[in-house]
C-alpha cells in the first residue's frame, strides 16, 4: 500500500519507537544496537536549502538501519494561510531521502503572514476554518506525496468564538476530508481531560479505526493546578491505559514515546516506556488474531 492510499489498517505489528534526540542517542545508535524499532525525527530541524541540517544524525540512523517517521512542527494546518510551498517541499525532500514510514504534523496554527509563532496555537475553530483546513490537507497530500497524519492539540485554552472544541473540530475534519489519517496523542487527550471537560475514551471511539495510524505518548507535569504537556517525565499510567484501549480497536503503524526535557534518567525512563508499550502491542488481541 502506498502512502497515498487509504483503507484498512495493516495486519502487521505496530513499530514502537521514540523521538530522536541527541540526549537519547544510545537508544538509537548505541553499541548494543537500536532499542527502538522506529525513530521519529522533528522534520524542521533538518531543513536546509542544500543538503540537510544535522546531516550526521541522518547518517547515523541510516547506518543503524532504523526505520524513520518524520514529525513536522510548522505545517500550519489549522489556519487560513496553510503550510508554505517551501515547507512542503522540504518535508517531501526529507521524507523521500529517509524513505519514511509516515509523515505527521499538527492540527494547529503555527504561522501568520508576517511571523512564525514558534509554538502550536489553537485557532477559532468554526466551519469557515474547516473549509480552509481541508484545502490545506489537499495541498499537503499532493505536495508531499503522502497522507499526513495530523496530531490532536494539547490546549487548555480554546479561543472564544469557536463553534467546535479542539476535539470536535478534529473529528469533524475526518468527515470533511479523507486524505489524512490520525496521529492521536493519548497524553494530550489525557491532559486535556484533566484541564477541561473531555472524555478521552469517547474521543478515541469516534475515530474510525482504519484512520487511527499513529500514536504519541509522553509525560507531563502539574503546575499551578494545571497539567502541562512538557514531555519531561515518564509516560503516565493513564496514557498507557488509553494506548491499551486504542490497541483493542486497531493496530496503528507506529507508537512513539516523546521526551524533550529533564534529561537526568531520561534514557532509563524512555527505555522503560518503550518496554511497556512493546508489551501492550505484543498483548493486543488484534495482533494475536
Amino acid at each position: 500500500m502506498t502512502q497515498l492510499e487509504s483503507g484498512a489498517p495493516p495486519a502487521r505489528k505496530p513499530l514502537v519507537g521514540a523521538g530522536f534526540r541527541p540526549e537519547l542517542a544510545e537508544l538509537f545508535t548505541g553499541p548494543e544496537g537500536p532499542v527502538v524499532e522506529v525513530a521519529e525525527l522533528i522534520a524542521d530541524r533538518y531543513f536546509a536549502d542544500t543538503g540537510f541540517n544535522r546531516s550526521w544524525e541522518l547518517a547515523g540512523l541510516q547506518q543503524a538501519g532504523i526505520r524513520v517517521v518524520i514529525h513536522g512542527l510548522s505545517g500550519n494546518t489549522a489556519s487560513v494561510l496553510g503550510p508554505t510551498d517551501d515547507y512542503l517541499t522540504e518535508i517531501r525532500k526529507l521524507a523521500d531521502y529517509m524513505d519514511v514510514v509516515a509523515y505527521s504534523d499538527h492540527l494547529a496554527l503555527t504561522a501568520t503572514e508576517d511571523r512564525a509563532l514558534g509554538h502550536l496555537a489553537p485557532n477559532r475553530f468554526d466551519d469557515e476554518l474547516l473549509g480552509h483546513v481541508s484545502d490545506n490537507i489537499d495541498r499537503m497530500y499532493a505536495q508531499t506525496g503522502r497522507r499526513p497524519r495530523l496530531e490532536n492539540l494539547a490546549t487548555k485554552i480554546q479561543l472564544a468564538g469557536s463553534t467546535y472544541t479542539v476535539e470536535e473540530f478534529y473529528l469533524q475534519l475526518l468527515q470533511v476530508n479523507d486524505k489524512w489519517d490520525c496521529l492521536v496523542d493519548v497524553t494530550n487527550l489525557w491532559i486535556n481531560s484533566q484541564n477541561r471537560p473531555l472524555d478521552p475514551v469517547a474521543f478515541i471511539d469516534q475515530v474510525p479505526p482504519e484512520r487511527l495510524r499513529y500514536i504519541h505518548l509522553a509525560g507531563g507535569h502539574r503546575e499551578h493546578g494545571e497539567w502541562i504537556d512538557s514531555h519531561s517525565y515518564p509516560v503516565h499510567d493513564e496514557a498507557f491505559e488509553l494506548l491499551e484501549h486504542v490497541l483493542s480497536r486497531t493496530l496503528p503503524d507506529v507508537v512513539i514515546i516523546e521526551r524533550d526535557d529533564n534529561w537526568a534518567d531520561a534514557v532509563k525512563h524512555v527505555r522503560d516506556d518503550l518496554d511497556r508499550a512493546k508489551d501492550l502491542v505484543h498483548d493486543s488481541k488484534l495482533l494475536v488474531a
Binding site: N53, R54, S55, G60, S74, L81, A116, G118, G131, H132
Partner: protein, 281 residues
C-alpha cells in the same frame, strides 16, 4: 495591516471566498502578533477597540478579536517565554557576561524582531542583532569591557553557524585524501581572530569581565564529522598561512605543503583536519 502575500492562492482555492479570506487572514495576523509580543498583548488589553480597528478591517472580526482577547493573553506568556528561552540558550555565555542588561536585550529583540520559521534561523538573527547592539553600546561609551563581550558574541555566533551549516549525510565517511586534488575549508569551518581569552569561560558572570586577559588568538571553529563543534587555537605559522589560503579558495595539498617551512608537520595537520571534517575534498 500587513499586505497579504498569498491572496491569489487563497482566493482561488476558496472559490469566491475572497472577502472572508482577507478578514480571516487579518484575524490570524492579529492573533500572531498578540501571541508573540508582550507589547501587542498590552495594547490589546488596554485599548481593545483601538487595537482591533488598527489590525482588522471587518467589524465582525474586530469584535471576534476582542472576544478572544483574554484567551490570547493567557497563551502569550508561553509563546514569548519559549522563544526567549531558545534565544538565551543560543547566547548563554554572552548573556552571562552581560548580566541583567542582557535579559533586557532578549526582551527588546523579541519585541523588535518578529519570529521567523526554523529554516530562516531566529537564533542567527538574534546573534547578528546582539553583535550590532554591542558595537552600538561600545561606540556610545555605555558598555564596559566591550571588547571582551564582542569577542564572546563572535565566538558564540561561530559555534552556532558551525552547528547549523547544512551538510550531506555522506560526509560522515572519510575518503582518501589525494595530494593532487583541491581541498577546501568545510562550509562549517571558519578562522576567527579573538583579542581576549574568552574561549575557556564556560559559565561566565559579569564578575569575570575585569579578570579576562588580553590574549590574541587565531581560532579555527568547525563541526566534526559526528556533529560536534570543535575549536582549535592555530599556533603554527605554516598551518595559519595554509588556512588563510584555503579561506580564500580551494588549493591542492601539494601546493599548500610546498609553501611550508616544515612540510611534514603541515601535511600531518592537513590529514588530521581532513579526517575530523574541518577540510573537505
Amino acid at each position: 495591516v500587513v499586505p497579504i502575500k498569498h491572496l491569489e492562492r487563497l482566493s482561488r482555492n476558496g472559490h469566491g471566498r475572497y472577502v472572508p479570506v482577507v478578514s480571516r487572514v487579518e484575524l490570524e495576523l492579529a492573533i500572531g502578533r498578540v501571541l508573540t509580543s508582550a507589547r501587542h498583548a498590552h495594547d490589546l488589553r488596554h485599548d481593545p477597540e483601538g487595537f482591533a480597528q488598527e489590525s482588522l478591517t471587518d467589524p465582525d472580526e474586530q469584535a471576534s478579536l476582542i472576544r478572544m482577547s483574554a484567551d490570547l493573553m493567557g497563551l502569550m506568556p508561553g509563546f514569548v517565554g519559549k522563544r526567549q528561552n531558545l534565544l538565551s540558550r543560543t547566547a548563554r555565555r554572552t548573556l552571562g557576561l552581560l548580566g541583567h542588561p542582557g535579559h533586557h536585550w532578549v526582551e527588546e529583540f523579541t519585541e523588535q524582531v518578529p519570529p521567523v520559521e526554523v529554516k530562516q534561523s531566529d537564533p542567527g538573527r538574534w546573534l547578528d542583532w546582539l553583535a550590532q547592539r554591542v558595537r552600538a553600546e561600545a561606540a556610545a561609551g555605555r558598555l564596559d569591557h566591550a571588547g571582551v563581550i564582542a569577542d564572546m558574541v563572535r565566538l558564540e555566533t561561530q559555534f552556532y553557524r558551525a552547528f547549523r551549516t547544512a551538510g550531506d549525510p555522506g560526509e560522515t565517511q572519510v575518503g582518501l585524501l589525494r595530494r593532487g586534488a583541491p581541498i577546501s575549508l568545510h562550509p562549517s569551518a571558519d578562522l576567527i581572530h579573538l583579542d581576549w581569552d574568552v574561549v575557556n569561560l564556560s559559565d561566565p558572570s559579569p564578575a569575570d569581565l575585569p579578570r579576562v586577559k588580553r590574549a590574541p588568538v587565531d581560532l579555527l571553529v568547525y563541526r566534526s564529522r559526528r556533529g560536534r563543534v570543535v575549536t582549535e587555537s592555530i599556533i603554527e605559522s605554516d598551518l595559519l598561512d595554509a588556512l588563510l589560503e584555503l579561506a580564500s579558495g580551494p588549493m591542492t595539498v601539494r601546493a599548500l605543503v610546498s609553501m611550508a617551512d616544515h612540510e611534514p608537520s603541515l601535511q600531518a595537520h592537513i590529514r588530521r583536519l581532513y579526517r575530523w571534517g574541518a577540510l573537505t575534498q
